[in-house]
């Protein structure tokens, strides 16, 4: 038998499951396969990599410890929208599908799905042989239970809204249908996430009120320990099989443990990174240069699905004229903001309503946005009847151009506001800055008493435009009091168009309207730079920054 034939027959045996682990390893070694290659053979055959073999392939063992700035609220995904908690429970719970690194959606606990002609029914075929951490089996009942429970107890969940109009029916143990009242294009984004992670009725009921402290899911890591205010630890799930396609390791993680230390102070975080108490920290502009030149650490870079913007409240007398808003947009020098405040490349200038990190971004729209041009800005204001007074501040009909800008007490926003103030002063606009605490600001903006707002949002789907600019959100997230029936209609269309390309076209059109009306002057997209201790090898990241841990291992 040639070596190739031997390999072929070995593969066949693996696929037929007619070979035990020991003889596989013996034959693999005889063929000159490295342990890693053997793991890949198994992975390619869709076989869970046996624990012992994975250990031989990379190095199994050790832990990866990250940092949280505060205690998770709870580890029950249905009871919170807390981003801190998400970091942890997203490693414990697997959803039906996941978003791949090319932003498309693929099956995880679901093997595949079909969407009905009218887009109102999705039929999921579930993967077989998946177990929860407590050994119970995942099946169609788990899916129905999860969605029903979410609908019932999920008032604090970010997917409480969409789940209200979904009906789940069990067809057979490996088939479920989701029926919608209206087509929902945001469904995949919302449900391809730990917030929609699957749970099992018996596991939840066994934990009682303490499920949020002792969660049971089916993802690569299982809950181990939570020392309140101190640390959270997960351990590898030996029977893990449902891994995303972007991993080479298709089975149990190489890492034995995944940990988080709760450290609020940035200085203490950096010190803990130095001492090796934690393995990764997001760097500030101050710490960045030092760590970039330190070969104990590798710097991971990620574009945030986030936009910093200057909001202009169109319902306020000073901001009602589109020419005034356009003039302000012309006077903003984004590059200066980025270079001054986000030194070390911690942000990129963005002029379109959707930043490049979010589907729906369109580079061609950039040319249609008001470019930095002080002369154009001044001319627009002159034409609009705002003329410079003796002190260089423009006025019209006895009213001074002194817009009230509001922002939070964040140092970054404060600096950005100050820079914007200086930039707008050059065209005779005298911005007055008000900084109030975040929770208070969120209560203040619905009143509509601010002319300008320095703020940002974070969201990974273009539906973000609905959340922040739809006229149905005046009381909450539409902080700039923008209302435009044309845009409203487009944003609803975007929510209901399931075809990817057609949906993106809708958002291109929506952005054209926003670029013209300027409820926001987009400013920047933050970049996260994370220092990771080099003892951690093979770590992957999602384009938007999340660590993908299944290939990671520890080199001692």
């Amino acid at each position: 038998m040639s070596q190739q034939d031997s390999l072929r027959s070995l593969l066949d045996d693996v696929q037929a499951r007619s070979i035990d682990r020991r003889s596989f390893i013996q034959r693999g070694i005889a063929l000159g396969l490295t342990p890693r290659a053997m793991a890949m053979v198994l992975g390619a055959a869709g076989v869970a990599v046996p624990v012992g073999l994975a250990a031989a392939a990379q190095t199994q063992g050790g832990s990866f410890t990250e940092v949280l700035t505060q205690d998770p609220q709870t580890l029950d995904p249905h009871l919170t929208s807390d981003g801190t908690a998400w970091n942890v429970f997203n490693e414990i719970f697997s959803p039906l599908m996941y978003q791949d690194i090319d932003f498309t959606y693929k099956g995880l606990l679901a093997e595949s799905w079909e969407t009905s002609e009218d887009s109102l029914t999705i039929t999921f075929t579930l993967r077989e042989g998946v177990t929860f951490h407590d050994g119970s089996e995942f099946n169609a009942d788990s899916v129905k239970y999860t969605i029903d429970r979410l609908r019932e107890v999920g008032t604090k969940s970010p997917i409480y809204d969409p789940v209200q109009t979904i009906t789940v029916d069990v067809i057979d143990p490996k088939t479920v249908t989701f029926t919608f009242e209206t087509p929902d294009a945001t469904f995949f984004n919302a449900f391809a996430d730990g917030y929609a992670g699957m749970m099992n009725q018996s596991s939840v009921e066994a934990a009682g009120d303490e499920f949020g402290r002792k969660p049971v899911g089916s993802a690569a890591f299982m809950f181990k320990e939570w020392n309140t205010g101190n640390s959270v630890t997960l351990s590898a799930f030996d029977n893990f099989t449902t891994t995303e396609a972007y991993f080479d390791n298709k089975g149990r993680p190489y890492l034995d443990e995944l940990g988080w230390k709760i450290i609020a102070e940035p200085f203490a975080q950096i010190a803990s990174l130095e001492t090796g108490e934690i393995d990764a920290v997001d760097l500030s502009a101050t710490d960045l240069p030092r760590f970039e030149n330190d070969d104990r650490f590798e710097i991971f870079e990620a574009r945030n699905t986030s936009l910093g913007y200057l909001g202009l409240t169109r319902t306020r007398p000073l901001m009602e004229d589109v020419n005034v808003r356009t003039a302000i947009a012309h006077a903003i020098d984004r590059q200066e903001i980025v270079d001054t405040i986000f030194t070390g490349g911690l942000a990129e200038p963005v002029s379109t309503p959707l930043p490049p990190s979010i589907p729906g971004y369109n580079a061609e729209l950039e040319a249609t946005t008001p470019a930095f041009d002080l002369d154009a800005a001044k001319k627009l204001l002159d034409d609009a009847g705002w003329v410079e007074g003796g002190d260089g501040i423009r006025e019209k009909d006895g009213v001074m151009m002194q817009p009230q800008l509001y922002t939070t007490t964040s140092a970054t926003y404060g600096q950005a506001a100050t820079l914007i103030q200086a930039q707008l002063r050059k065209i005779g606009v005298d911005v007055v800055i008000n900084q109030i605490e975040q929770a208070a600001l969120q209560d203040f903006t619905p009143k509509g008493e601010h002319d300008m707002l320095m703020y940002s949002w974070g969201w990974s789907d273009p539906n973000v435009l609905y959340i922040f600019l739809s006229s149905t959100r005046m009381e909450s997230s539409n902080r700039v009091h923008y209302s435009n029936p044309d845009l409203d209609a487009l944003l609803v269309e975007g929510q209901q168009t399931l075809d990817w390309d057609a949906r993106m076209e809708v958002y291109y059109k929506a952005q054209e309207i926003i670029i013209h009306d300027l409820p926001w002057v987009p400013l920047y997209m933050p970049i996260t730079k994370t220092a990771v201790n080099k003892r951690i090898q093979g770590m992957k990241t999602f384009p938007t920054g999340r660590f993908l841990k299944n290939d990671a291992w520890v080199e001692e």
Binding site: Y160, G229, A439, S477
Partner: protein, 307 residues
Amino acid sequence: MLAYIIRRILQSFIVLIGVSIAVAAMTQFVPGDPAKMILGDNASPEALEALREDLGLNDPFYVQYWRFVERLVTEGSLGKSIRTNREVLTEIGERFPNTLILTLGAVLVSSTIGIASGVLASVRRGKPTDIAVLVGTTIGLSVPSFWVALLMIWLFAVKLHWLPVTGSGSWKHAVMPIITLSLGAIATKSRLTRSSMLEVLGQDYIRTSRAKGLSERRVVIRHALRNALLPVITIIGLQFGGLLGGAFITETIFSWPGVGQLAVSSILFRDFPVVQGTVLLVTVAFVFSNLLVDIAYAWVDPRIRYS
């Protein structure tokens, strides 16, 4: 004495009721909506309304307060945390022992070092020891504890690797937080002990004891110190409350899982039941420590009688 203690405890209840009403009223007027804080930007108006209803935030202030009192009396519960859904008492109960370790540790450390250095300075008045203590206490009082904490982290954790940067669980974790918390208190107690000692050492009965031929050690420890301690004990009691407050900052720096850390995050998040619980806890601790001080007076100075 017993009647006095009972009366004092009854009085403390009135203080607690007053404080709880004040906190409950404050939560009504502080801007910020817990529902928005929890749900974030994606929440529809309907979802926000559903959650407000769920949390009972739509009821008028007196209804909410009455519900709080009712639950406290009938179930012995301070309600559930808005953020975590757990009993406020559980949340606080998990953390209070940690805060107590810091606070009592700081009381112990600051009293020992403070009193000892104060006595030393008073008996060596005007000598190099006195001047060294003076300089030390001046530094202790004027240097911000936050800054000392950062320096200690840099030196003992990052450079020397003697102590862990943050966390809890072993005596090593407690060293830096306790020192940070003690610094100011050491200085205050040292200064106070010194001046009080100097006053006592000038008294006639001290001269008498010396004339009797008692050893200097005995004069200072048995006769002078006991009398000089009275104002120091007052300060220890008062500082206990201050240390609880200071522990809030220290806990944040060192990520020490105490009540302070909980209080700070609850305030930022408008988790009112937890804010209410932590404020009540601190009030109880404050009232109780003052009571202990008053009782300690009687022990130190038998001339003090309560009625």
